[in-house]
């Protein structure tokens, strides 16, 4: 089959590799019909994530048709399914509590050692996202092997297009969980850092959960425009001072809840990188500030911090004092996609959540390297790239 493979920093290629096979009783093989490039994939593209190996197949946002099933899979050939990016067994203690992204068993035993060393506990398995999270082949390919297929994939009713449901695999549940983790109360003002897919879905979700106002922060005009379409007020951090603007816009109180949907890509994953960029004492008023730091400082006293954004290591200059003195609460984590999928599928069917607005480009799997480059170089115009293995090479469709 053809598959998008990683070879190093800014080097991804479409290669011919062996087709996946059923290896365990609960497996299924899915023929991919749509797969997206994610903001998280850019972390891999930029070479920020350790434990990648040349030839690894990327992609954790995908859907398709069931073409083969193991004896213990509950799926049937021909069904259309969306697959969660988190690989969860459904039967461990954490899965029992619906903490699917903390599943004990999704990550092969040998790979769990790295997580033990780095984080004190092994990470769960994820598709197409380094060997730290299992080394599973991803879905930016013609076919993918899906373990625990009786637990993860959700069957999509006919009549819904791929574009409408594809984002159930990651970013829609991630935006939703981000808003849920902000413990929004009716009438709240919520500030969201980052208007990428995750931030934009967090904006929509926050309103659905009763927020009176949502203030979205980014520097790309087109992304800010999308946030405004959903009713958010916006701050362009290149044109205004974020902290000062937030204080003025909230009557000097600060947002009741803050959501960091930016993450490690923003201004460097590595500590020294960040330290360089921090203005000496106050850590305020500069666009080079790490988003989580700014969110904590801006949050009102007794407020809530939600952090869907991905961080990988140890950070310096974390405003622990502000966090303690203001009595804040922080919730975070990889998304427990399986927990949110059924409810969000319903919300899509009922027209409560709009998903297709996000897609700026559709192209063939063969053109994936071009898609990565575009997404990386032009975040203003390119909000989401969807790859279609069914398209002929060179067929690119840009939205309107």
């Amino acid at each position: 089959m053809r598959a998008l493979t990683w070879h190093g920093k800014h080097d991804v290629r479409v290669d011919t590799v062996d087709d996946p096979e059923i290896l365990k009783p609960r497996d299924a093989i899915i023929k991919i019909t749509s797969t997206a490039i994610c903001g998280s994939d850019l972390h891999l593209y930029d070479g920020f994530i350790p434990t990648m190996k040349a030839g690894d197949i990327l992609g954790h946002e995908f859907m398709g048709e069931v073409v083969e099933t193991g004896p213990k899979s509950t799926l049937q050939k021909g069904q259309r399914v969306v697959v969660p990016f988190t690989i969860a067994c459904g039967s461990c203690y954490h899965c029992g509590k619906h903490q699917y992204s903390a599943c004990d068993n999704g990550n092969p035993a040998d790979n769990q050692d790295i997580g033990m060393e780095l984080y004190g506990q092994p990470m769960s398995g994820l598709f197409g996202y380094s060997h730290l999270t299992g080394g599973y082949a991803g879905g930016q390919a013609e076919y993918v092997r899906v373990p625990f297929s009786d637990v993860g994939p959700i069957v999509v009713p006919d009549g819904l297009s791929d574009d409408e449901v594809l984002f159930l695999s990651d970013i829609l549940p991630t935006g939703w969980q981000a808003a849920e983790n902000a413990d929004i109360e009716p009438g709240d003002t919520v500030a969201v850092w980052g208007c990428g897919p995750v931030g934009l879905f967090a904006v929509q979700s926050a309103f659905l959960m009763g927020a009176a106002r949502v203030i979205a922060i980014d520097h790309f005009p087109r992304r800010l425009e999308l946030a405004r379409k959903f009713g958010a007020e916006t701050i362009n951090f290149e044109e205004s001072k974020t902290y000062e603007a937030l204080m003025e816009m909230t009557g000097g109180i600060g947002p009741d809840a803050v959501i960091d949907a930016v993450g490690l890509e923003a201004h460097g994953f590595f500590v020294d990188n960040v330290v360089d960029q921090i203005k000496a004492s106050l850590m305020l008023g500069t666009d080079r500030i790490h988003s989580i730091r700014q969110a904590i400082v801006a949050c009102r006293k007794g407020g809530r911090v939600s952090m869907p954004a991905v961080y990988g290591g140890i950070v310096d200059k974390f405003p622990l004092g502000a966090f303690m003195e203001k009595g804040l609460t922080l919730k975070t984590g990889q998304t427990s996609v399986q927990h949110y999928m059924p409810g969000l599928l319903n919300a899509i069917v009922e027209g409560k959540i709009d998903t297709t607005f996000l897609i700026s480009h559709r192209m063939s799997l063969e053109d994936a390297p071009k898609g990565y480059k575009m997404f990386h170089d032009n975040q203003n115009e390119v909000t989401k790239v969807v790859l279609k293995p069914g398209f002929d090479a060179g067929t690119a469709i840009a939205a309107e």
């Binding site: 609960r26 067994c89 461990c92 068993n105 092969p108 035993a109 769990q112 092994p122 080394g135």
Partner: protein, 191 residues
Amino acid sequence: MATAKEDAPPTTSKVREVRDAKTRTVQDAQGSSLIGRTVTINRPRAELYAYWRDFARLPTFMDNVQQVDVLSPKLSHWVVKAPGGRTVEWDARITEEKDGELIAWASTEDADVPNSGRIEFRDAGDRGTIVTATIVYDPPAGLVGKVIAKMLQREPAIQARRDLRRFKQLMETGEVATSSRTRAQLEEEKA
């Protein structure tokens, strides 16, 4: 004999005498290096015990064990993988056994890699069963030791931790997780 004035397991002690005292509780201890590893498995105690007690099934989750032949209710023969397609072998005897609770073993005198230990199962309420492996072995030393360490491919402590995780996966999910994509890759991973 040193007595602990705290509740931390002796296998985690920094004090040599505390560890040695624990080592002596393993019957017919084959060596002086002590490893303790605990995992919680979301299945009933009796079920886990029964699976483990049938030694012939251990290679399903013990990656470096190629085959275990049960010779008699107390005696088994172990074939363990070594590099270059070779193997090391030994006989192990059950030294203690309590239905549903514990199994202890020790290798017989002529073993290539002397080892001994016990596996214990305790109820953990709605979390299932706490499984603790205590292993006592001869630390590889000198040239011979290095060869043996190489034969075992991995440090026994890491091997034990991984084996317990695979046991947990098998018991909780019915399969041992793999990220291989093809049968050929899976075979390679197992080799």
